[in-house]
Symmetry: C2
Subunit: 228 residues, 2 copies
């Protein structure tokens, strides 16, 4: 088992059979000791954070598989905090695809002249580049195509999958009395088949969830969902 990549919150190993193993760590992103899922630096270590994120990820990847959404998920070992996945190549140097149901965060910071805090949005999709040095800039469909990062048809597939996945997560949370405001997803091409897959994880750190207007922090969310 070869270490391919040491990430901020996960390490990635290559397995003998060509699949990958993701090791979920207890490191979480943030600044000055405060957890912030949008931050680009590891801010602190919280015991159990890795397992909690994996538990939520396993749950949602299972729901997506039931709905026929292609993902990289193969199996998870909660006690070991590892997840086995199909190997996939990211687009360019990695993209994040965000689906917004309400105007908060960077959307509001950019477009606050036209949107109010928490204003409903119609499953609005946007893409950002994973680029810590440039603060993960948003990028339009046209620019993705112009720069050869995506083909027009690939963009349309990502957008359609993003809406489908985001609605599945939103509906699940709705049934628990929770409101999904936004969610960020990552996609890749299956290294063997070329199929576009949802990759990475779906945990508290990927989304903003509120209950009756009050923000629920990622770890609180994971505990609410999975502690009996």
């Amino acid at each position: 088992m070869e270490l391919l990549y040491k990430g901020k919150t996960k390490d990635v190993y290559e397995l003998e059979d060509g699949n990958l193993q993701l090791k979920f760590k207890d490191d979480v992103t943030g600044e000055d000791g405060v957890f912030d899922p949008g931050a680009n630096t590891v801010g602190l270590t919280i015991e159990g954070a890795g397992k909690a994120g994996l538990r939520m990820t396993r749950y949602f990847f299972g729901k997506l598989a039931d709905a026929g959404v292609p993902t990289h998920f193969v199996e998870a070992d909660i006690d070991g905090a590892t997840m086995t996945v199909r190997k996939a190549e990211v687009f360019g140097k990695g993209l994040e695809v965000i689906c917004r149901f309400r105007a908060v965060g960077s959307f509001l910071r950019r477009y606050g002249a036209y949107a109010e805090d928490g204003q409903p949005l119609d499953a609005f999709v946007e893409v950002t580049l994973k680029d810590d040095n440039r603060n993960d800039p948003p990028i339009s469909r046209d620019a993705l195509i112009q720069l050869g990062i995506l083909e027009a048809q690939e963009y349309d597939t990502l957008e359609q999958l993003t809406k489908e996945i985001s609605h599945i997560v939103k509906d699940d949370l709705d049934r628990r009395g929770l409101d999904l405001y936004d969610i960020k997803l990552e996609f890749g091409r299956d290294s063997r088949t070329g199929e576009i897959l949802l990759i990475d994880e779906i945990s508290g750190g990927n989304m903003r969830v509120y209950q009756e207007g009050e923000y629920i922090a990622p770890l609180d969310l994971e505990q609410r969902l999975f502690v009996k």
Copy 2:
């Protein structure tokens, strides 16, 4: 004649007949006494800057009229540094539409992980919001529609007009041995007819022009083009 608006580089008056008069000032945008067309503050005053910008604007609006492009231009008085235009409403609180033939400026700052300085782009169009407080953020077609700033068809009209206008300016400069790297345009709806028009000005401050790889500052460009 009523003063409607005092701008950074132009003042706007309403005329008796419902048209507007734009008074081109010698104030130019910049910071710390250095001229920067992209800046949001007035940096310095340069004698003759207003007339030089107006002369170039009159020239290009004339070319566009010959090509059948709808603009707000009615007539110009170079000595008085004024231009009479049809009244138009901007989209939202004002948009800038940029057409890029080479990757420089904010495009490169955002997408430098995928583009090299000066790399050719295929008349790439993007829109930014005029919003000094938020540093004129770029905004996608989808976000413009989502926020009710443009309808899908209006976006497509703006994009098509922007490419047509930008190519007319580029071809003119090409014939003088000059390279247009990018240009920013503004559009509005004719207050009487609702027709989409090119508004504002087309002067050195609206574009980046190079000669054999060397940047030509806006006032130098205006002088080169119009001093016999």
